[in-house]
Each structure stands twice: as structure tokens, then as C-alpha cells.
């Protein structure tokens, strides 16, 4: 390895050490080294670990987490697969709405949907007021059922994306081949397509499992209201006390992380076993099934999913943001502009929080975009091994619950000499750094493959024509992966605007970001202002994201001609 290569590897590794490993180690470490932060010589002790994990409550939290994650992952994967099948292979009507739905879900946070469902499903909530809530459904909702319901609606898009991509890569050749040797349509699916899609299905299941296990948003809202103890929330309560029960928090975080790591390893092992390359780039567009009259009920199913996962929660938030109280329903006398007015008026705390969050998220998104681009570029020039390591670290970091990360950040940046001396603890800088560590993996997962697809000859050709490193970066690489880059930036932006646990734990002293304020408002029974703030945050994010994406697309078309669309931001080699 050259000196430059070694420096690159060192830089990349230290970036991850500071952003992910150290904070994590400080939290986990306390499970076995109780006086890690006390300044005297640390000593190892397993007694605390045993005590923290041996009690009934911890065991309940662990089993609840496993049960919820497993059931939720199954139902979200099934729904996602059906949804993907409907979009990819049928002539279902209302495609625009049905296509947009998974994206809209993906870009709005789970806890907002959870809060909205609480407004809908409460015994005196909107559905009950309209007589739409059958007897007993309210109590049924505030339990494991409700958690599975909301997780499924919130996470099926992941399965839809993963399985949908595999389906379109699969084409219909394999299926057609099965038909030519006498298989029925059903046999072709069961015997040919399903096994070929199995890796994608497994990947979707495992990703969703990890996502549910590390989720804090629903754990802190519906699960908390239903008193369904989950690991992430249990960690949070151990942290939210004086003194903090570091041993409990650390050991439960350790369990959670072990769970997530085994899921990741399982995924890797399974994928090594089945080396099926589905996306050959040669497949033709798969055949579309004509559903005949059945297309209407199928569309009805799709629209119902869309209604339940996007439009109904949105309607609840809109209704609540314009209503004085929940109990008096949608009566005209109960309507008020007060909350929206507060959220829109400059200088009002809610409005300040919103603007702050938009600004922080913007900064985070741009930082992550730039970092991902630089990393992807350096990694592409570096060895394959480093690339694999970084991708693994990135995916691993995605699974770390924000609660654990946030606590680790406090310990690292307020307590550890050297880091504490930077003085960024308690400022917006640390919050943005926390957001960056949370968003960078997502940006990398989008940008890294895009850069990897650029033929090295395109870069070499530019060098031969006199382009220096900067010119190559801005005139060759960036335009070639522009759409992926914009997608990554928008994804990070949307996730950062709503990122909850890091916002709470790393809240700058100079003012709170929107997520902490929203959850605080709901917690303080000020649902109206909370809903108004949520609504504006969603509109601002969605509007900004949509505008940027459209602008990027339009600019791409204008500057790069028709070539842009066919590239899809990810050019073929040469």
C-alpha cells in the first residue's frame, strides 16, 4: 500500500472511531467497568452485568423486543412484497399515488405516525368520534397489536424497495422458461421466482428486524403508552435518572447490539451461501399481468395501505393542529389558528425550533453528502477490503440506537479530556455531529455503489485530458452520480429534521431542535401545537426535498440532455 493509501485508510478508520466506535465503547464499557468515568483506576466487574440482565424486567424487555421485531418484520416483509409485486408486475390503476406512497412513508418519521395513530385510536380520538372504531379496538391497539400495526405500515417500504428491485432485475425469462416446460403460473412463482427472490426477501426481513429492534420513536410513544417494555426504551429510562444507571443502560445496549450484530452476520452468511446475481442488466422489462376486473380490488388494497400509512395519520395531525381540544372533535367552535400561528410566527419558540431544525438538517445533509462523496471516491481508489470494511461499519452504525449513540456522545465530548476541550458539547456543533454520524451511513449506502459503477477509464480519460483532482471530482464524478448524491442529501435531510433521541440528548443549550419540542409538546398534553409543528416540519421537509429533487432533475435534463434520464444518475461504464 502506498503512503497516500495508508493515510486514506487511517483517516477513514479514525473518522469511524471518533463518530461511532468511541462513543459506543464508552456506553458499553460501563456495563463491565462501572467506574469508567469516575476518574480512578477502572476495574472490571461482571457482577453488574449479571444483576442488570438477570432481573425479570430486563428479560421481559429483551423478549418483547425479539417478539415485536420478529412479528413486525414478517408482516412488513409480506406487505412490502405484495406491494412490490402489485407495482412491478400488474396493471393496477392509480399508479402515481401507489408509487409515491412508500417514499412518503420512508421520509416521515415513525414516531410522528405513532403520535398520529394515538390521536386516531384513543378511546375518545377521531375514529371513535366518527363512530369508526369498533368496540374494544382501542385497547387492542395499545398493545403489541398496535406496535405491529404501526411498524408494519411504517417499514414495509423497505421491503418494497429491496424486493421490488430484485423483481425488476429478475425479469420474466425464468418464469417464462418454467411455463414452456409445462409449469403453471402458480408453479412458476412458487418453484422458480420465489427461490430466486429469497435472498431479497431475507435481506428485507433482517433489515426490518434490525430497524424495529433499534427503534426508539415507537418505543417512546405507543409502546410507552401501552406499557410494553422494549429494550431501547428501557435503556432510555435507565439513562433518564439521577444518578444514571449506567450498568443497566450499558448492559442492555450490549444485548441490543449483540442482537443486531447477529442479525447482520446472519444476513452476510445467508448471502454468501446463495450467490444469485439477479440484476444482470440484460433482462428485459418483466411482463405485466393483466388483472382484468381484479385490478380494482387490488388498487383498493393499495389505496387502503396508502390511506392508513400516509393520509389518515396526516389528516389526524392536520385536524389536531387546527383544533383547540381533541375531545370536542371537528366542530367549528373547536377550530383555532392559534397553534399554526404560533408555529409560523418568527420568534415564537416553536417556530424557532423549526427553523433551527431545518438549518441543522441542511448542514448535516450537505456535510454527509460531501463526506460520502469524498469517502466513496477515496475508497474507490483504495483497496476492495477497505471498501468492504467501511460499508460494514456504515451498515452497523445504522443499527445502533440513537439513544445509545447520544449518551456516548455526551460522555465522549463532555467528559473525556481532549474531546471535552473542544468545547463543542452543549453547542449546535455537537448536535450536527451527532446527526452526521447518524446520517452518514445512509448517504454512504446510496453514494458508494454509485461511485463504484463509474468506469475507472472515465476518470483516467479525464486525467489524460489534463483534469486535476478537483476538476475530475466536480466535472466528472459529481455530474455522473448527481442524482444519487441529491437522493442521499435529501434522505439525510429528512431523517435529520425528525431524528429524535439524538436531538433530545444532544440538545444545544442555545435552543432545542424541533423533534425534542414536538415530543415534549405531545408529552405535556399540548398536542395542538405539537401537531402544528409536526405538520410544518413535514411540509417544509417535503416541499424542500421535492423542489430540490425536481430542480436537480430539471437541471440534469437541461445540462446533460436526454442522457440524464437513461443514466438515472448511475451511468454505465463508458
Amino acid at each position: 500500500m502506498t503512503i497516500g493509501g495508508a493515510a486514506t485508510s487511517l483517516g477513514v478508520v479514525s473518522l469511524f472511531v471518533v463518530l461511532v466506535f468511541l462513543p459506543l465503547a464508552l456506553v458499553m464499557g460501563q456495563a463491565v467497568v462501572p467506574d469508567l468515568m469516575d476518574g480512578h483506576w477502572p476495574h472490571l466487574s461482571l457482577a453488574g452485568l449479571e444483576h442488570s440482565l438477570g432481573n425479570a424486567r430486563s428479560i421481559t424487555a429483551i423478549s418483547h423486543t425479539v417478539v415485536l421485531s420478529a412479528i413486525g418484520a414478517v408482516s412488513a416483509t409480506v406487505l412490502g412484497a405484495l406491494y412490490a409485486l402489485m407495482l412491478a408486475r400488474s396493471n393496477v390503476p392509480f399508479r402515481a399515488v401507489l408509487r409515491a406512497t412508500p417514499w412518503l412513508i420512508f421520509l416521515t418519521p415513525g414516531y410522528l405516525k405513532a403520535l398520529a395513530w394515538v390521536l386516531l385510536m384513543s378511546p375518545g380520538g377521531y375514529l371513535a368520534q366518527f363512530g369508526l372504531l369498533p368496540e374494544g379496538w382501542d385497547t387492542a391497539f395499545f398493545s403489541l397489536n398496535g406496535l405491529i400495526f404501526v411498524h408494519t405500515l411504517n417499514l414495509f417500504p423497505m421491503a418494497c424497495f429491496v424486493i421490488g428491485a430484485a423483481m425488476s432485475g429478475l425479469g420474466s425469462e425464468f418464469e417464462d422458461a418454467a411455463r414452456t416446460v409445462g409449469g403453471s403460473a402458480r408453479q412458476a412463482w412458487v418453484k422458480i421466482n420465489l427461490p430466486l427472490l429469497a435472498p431479497a426477501v431475507v435481506l428485507a426481513f433482517l433489515s426490518i428486524f434490525a430497524e424495529i429492534a433499534s427503534d426508539f420513536g415507537l418505543a417512546a410513544t405507543i409502546a410507552r403508552t401501552s406499557n410494553f417494555g422494549l429494550l431501547t426504551y428501557s435503556i432510555a429510562t435507565a439513562i433518564e435518572n439521577f444518578p444514571v444507571d449506567f450498568q443497566l443502560a450499558g448492559s442492555q445496549a450490549l444485548v441490543l447490539l449483540a442482537m443486531l450484530c447477529s442479525v447482520l452476520l446472519l444476513d452476510k452468511a445467508l448471502r454468501r451461501q446463495r450467490r444469485v446475481r439477479l440484476i444482470t442488466g440484460r433482462s428485459r422489462r418483466p411482463r405485466i399481468y393483466d388483472l382484468g376486473l381484479w385490478r380494482w380490488p387490488v388498487a383498493g388494497f393499495g389505496l387502503l395501505v396508502s390511506l392508513l400509512s400516509v393520509w389518515l395519520p396526516m389528516a389526524a395531525i392536520i385536524a389536531r393542529s387546527g383544533a383547540r381540544t381533541l375531545g370536542q372533535g371537528l366542530a367549528a367552535s373547536n377550530m383555532t389558528w392559534r397553534y399554526l400561528d404560533q408555529a409560523l410566527t418568527l420568534g415564537q419558540p416553536a417556530n424557532q425550533a423549526l427553523l433551527r431544525s431545518l438549518w441543522f438538517a441542511g448542514l448535516t445533509a450537505i456535510t454527509c453528502g460531501v463526506l460520502a462523496l469524498l469517502l466513496a471516491w477515496r475508497l474507490d481508489q483504495g483497496g476492495k477490503a477497505l471498501r468492504q470494511i467501511v460499508l460494514a461499519m456504515a451498515v452497523g452504525a445504522m443499527a445502533i440506537p440513537g439513544v445509545v449513540m447520544g449518551l456516548g456522545y455526551i460522555l465522549l465530548w463532555d467528559r473525556v479530556p481532549g474531546f471535552a476541550d473542544t468545547g463543542i458539547y452543549g453547542t449546535w456543533k455537537l448536535l450536527v455531529l451527532g446527526y452526521v454520524s447518524h446520517g452518514l451511513p445512509y448517504a454512504l449506502v446510496v453514494v458508494l455503489p454509485a461511485v463504484g459503477q463509474i468506469s475507472p477509464n472515465l476518470i483516467d480519460a479525464a486525467r489524460l485530458h489534463g483534469a486535476g483532482a478537483t476538476t475530475r471530482m466536480f466535472r466528472i464524478i459529481v455530474p455522473l452520480i448527481a442524482l444519487s448524491l441529491v437522493t442521499a442529501v435529501l434522505l439525510v435531510f429528512a431523517r435529520s429534521v425528525f431524528e429524535l433521541p439524538i436531538s433530545q440528548l444532544l440538545q444545544p443549550t442555545a435552543g432545542a431542535p424541533a423533534p425534542s419540542v414536538i415530543v415534549r409538546l405531545f408529552g405535556n398534553d399540548n398536542d395542538g401545537l405539537g401537531s402544528a409543528l409536526s405538520l410544518l416540519a413535514i411540509l417544509a421537509t417535503g416541499g424542500l426535498a421535492g423542489l430540490l429533487w425536481l430542480a436537480a432533475r430539471a437541471a440534469g435534463r437541461a445540462v446533460w440532455g436526454n442522457g440524464f434520464d437513461s443514466l438515472g444518475g448511475m451511468p454505465r461504464s463508458g
Binding site: 472515465l458 489534463g466 455522473l480
Partner: protein, 350 residues
């Protein structure tokens, strides 16, 4: 050390990991000359021109371009200052730039003014016949058009030497011959020095002033294509350039002997233990060179267009001959080879 040729490499060595890709390689190309480098895949030919271009650095050796040392023990000229053009196998035209922008990119970076640049772009595109496509994007071009664009893009920079890395391997066969001629004409018209990499022997011979054959990271032989064809210095080259019949045996005083074979040759002998090679098209009727006669039994006849290709069994040996007419399987056939067509090379396994 005086490096006098237009492009000169001395003692180049390069390893990629544990694989020694180039070993102590010398190469020189005169100004205005077109050199084809032929070799099977893995022979190191692409690595060689990547070193010349500066896309990779040699482990040892020197490279000069246009009389200027660009790589040596204390020299490593930047890529863009070497005056080297490069045409890639996969074209590597930038998909986000129009045809004209692709050509103008390097010119703009070199600081060329707008008017002059436009003039250059027009010239370059006209010279490869795609001036009408200037505003199109690469994905709207055919493979052949994309390769013309890649060529125009390099030529517009007026390089001291242009390196072509199997530029026709992705073009379909019907177009290949036509494009080959175009490239040749264009490079010659500009008097540009060119190094052309290929693994296709007919392409290599057709295109060049001089041909060099590489194998296993070494340059085996270089010279006019006809010389290599007629006087290969190794069994590998004889076989690689168009295929040949070979007989292992001894040579003494212009007479080659092997069990059942006795042939006169006027070609120089590299050793006493040699392989005699002659090409299928060198087979003559037995009356033409009665002193150099061989005979056997026909086992197969194939019509290949301009003649019949006959496989002949002599018992211990098998020959392939180009013949004017078909001969029935199982019939006896005698033929002869002129002494000046009986080339001698070191035997295959030496």
C-alpha cells in the same frame, strides 16, 4: 543514456501484487510510426501503455516521449504534461457531456479560447465524420460513433503519441474493418505517432508500420509485420501470427531432418535442435520443389473461401495445407515447400 527514438522505453518492470506483469522491457517507436503491439490477454500490453501514459508508475526503467524523459529514477512527469493521447477499449466517453463537450473538455482545461476551441472541435469531429452529431449525447450514439468520438477527443489534443487500447474490440465485426481503415488514415494524415494494442493478429498486421509481439511481460520480437510473419523468431510468434505447421528436428548445412522428413532451407538456424515452421499457404504442388517433398493421407477438407484447407496425416505428423481443389478423404497427397519458406525457430519447449 541517450534516448533517441520518439517514444522510448528502457528496462521497464512492473509488478501488480505478486504478479510480475512486465520484465525488463525495451521498446522504441520512431516519429510518425504506427506500432502495433500484439499479445494474448495477460501479456502485459495494456500495462505497458498505461505506464507510458502515466496512468501507472513503473517499478523500474525509463520512459521518454518526444525526446523528453517523462519517467526515470528522478523524474515522473504529470500525465497531462506528457503529450499522450489514449483511446480506451470501452471508449470512456463522458456520458454527461455532449459530443462537442467531450472533445472540448481537455482543450478548455488547457486554456484554449472559445473560438479556437470551437474550430478544433469542428475539425476533429469532421475528421472522424460525426460533425453532424456534435450536440448529441453518448447514449444516443452507436458503438462505432462512440469510438469515433473517443478518437476525435484524443486527436483534438494534438498528442505527441496516441495510445490505442484495443479500440475495436467492442465494435461489431461488420464495422471493425471499416473503422480500422479510418483510424489508420486519420493517424497517418496527422503524422501522429501511434501505439496500437490488440490481441487480433490480422488487425495488428493490417494497421501498422511495425509490429511487436509480447508474451508473459516480455517483448518477443519487433519489426515489419511481413518480417515477423516470414521470419518469426519463436514458435510462439509463428503460431500466434496466422498459425503454422511445425516439425521438430535437427538442422545442419541448410538441411533439416526429422524422422521421415528431409527439407532444404535457406533460412538462418538459431540452433541445431530446431523446429521448422511453414504456413498452410506455402504448400505447393509436389512438382514445384521436388527436393522438398512431403506426403500423407487426407483426413479432412474444408472450403474456406479462397481455397480448400486440407488436413493431412503422415503417420506421426499432421499438416494443414491451403490447396486449390478438394481432395477426397483417404486419398494420398504429396506437396512441397520452397526452401526460403522453411523458417527455423527454437523448439516450443526450449
Amino acid at each position: 543514456m541517450a534516448l533517441t527514438a520518439w517514444v522510448e522505453c528502457r528496462g521497464l518492470a512492473k509488478a501488480l501484487g505478486t504478479n510480475q506483469v512486465l520484465r525488463d522491457l525495451d521498446l522504441s517507436v520512431e516519429k510518425g510510426e504506427i506500432l502495433s503491439i500484439l499479445g494474448p490477454s495477460g501479456s502485459g500490453k495494456t500495462t505497458l501503455i498505461r505506464l507510458i501514459a502515466g496512468l501507472a508508475d513503473p517499478d523500474a526503467g525509463e520512459i521518454s516521449v518526444a525526446g523528453r524523459l517523462v519517467f526515470g529514477p528522478r523524474t515522473n512527469a504529470r500525465i497531462e504534461s506528457r503529450g499522450v493521447g489514449y483511446v480506451f477499449q470501452d471508449y470512456a466517453v463522458w456520458p454527461h457531456m455532449s459530443v462537442a463537450e467531450n472533445v472540448g473538455f481537455g482543450l478548455g482545461l488547457a486554456g484554449m479560447g472559445r473560438a479556437e476551441r470551437d474550430q478544433r472541435i469542428r475539425e476533429a469531429l469532421t475528421s472522424v465524420g460525426i460533425a453532424a452529431l456534435a450536440d448529441r449525447y453518448p447514449d444516443q450514439l452507436s458503438g462505432g460513433q462512440q469510438q469515433r468520438l473517443a478518437l476525435a477527443r484524443s486527436m483534438a489534443m494534438r498528442p505527441e503519441v496516441i495510445l490505442l487500447d484495443e479500440p475495436l474490440s467492442n465494435v461489431d465485426a461488420a464495422l471493425r474493418e471499416h473503422l480500422r481503415l479510418e483510424i489508420l488514415q486519420l493517424v497517418r494524415a496527422h503524422g501522429t505517432t501511434a501505439i496500437y494494442i490488440t490481441h487480433d493478429q490480422s488487425e495488428a498486421m493490417a494497421l501498422c508500420d511495425r509490429l511487436a509481439v509480447m508474451q508473459g511481460g516480455r517483448l518477443l520480437q519487433a519489426g515489419p509485420p511481413e518480417e515477423l510473419y516470414r521470419r518469426p523468431n519463436s514458435w510462439f510468434i509463428a503460431n500466434f501470427l496466422g498459425g503454422a505447421n511445425a516439425i521438430e528436428g535437427e538442422v545442419a548445412d541448410g538441411v533439416f531432418t526429422a524422422p521421415g522428413v528431409r527439407l532444404h532451407t535457406t533460412c538462418p538456424a538459431p540452433a541445431s535442435r530446431v523446429a521448422l515452421v511453414f504456413r498452410p499457404e506455402d504448400a505447393l504442388p509436389e512438382s514445384a520443389q521436388p527436393q522438398n517433398r512431403l506426403e500423407g493421407v487426407v483426413v479432412a477438407s474444408m472450403f474456406i473461401g479462397r481455397c480448400w484447407r486440407i488436413t493431412l496425416n503422415t503417420g506421426s505428423l499432421q499438416f494443414v495445407l491451403d490447396w486449390t481443389h478438394r481432395v477426397e478423404d483417404g486419398a494420398a497427397l504429396a506437396f512441397s515447400v520452397a526452401p526460403d519458406r522453411c523458417a527455423l525457430v527454437l523448439p516450443e519447449k526450449s
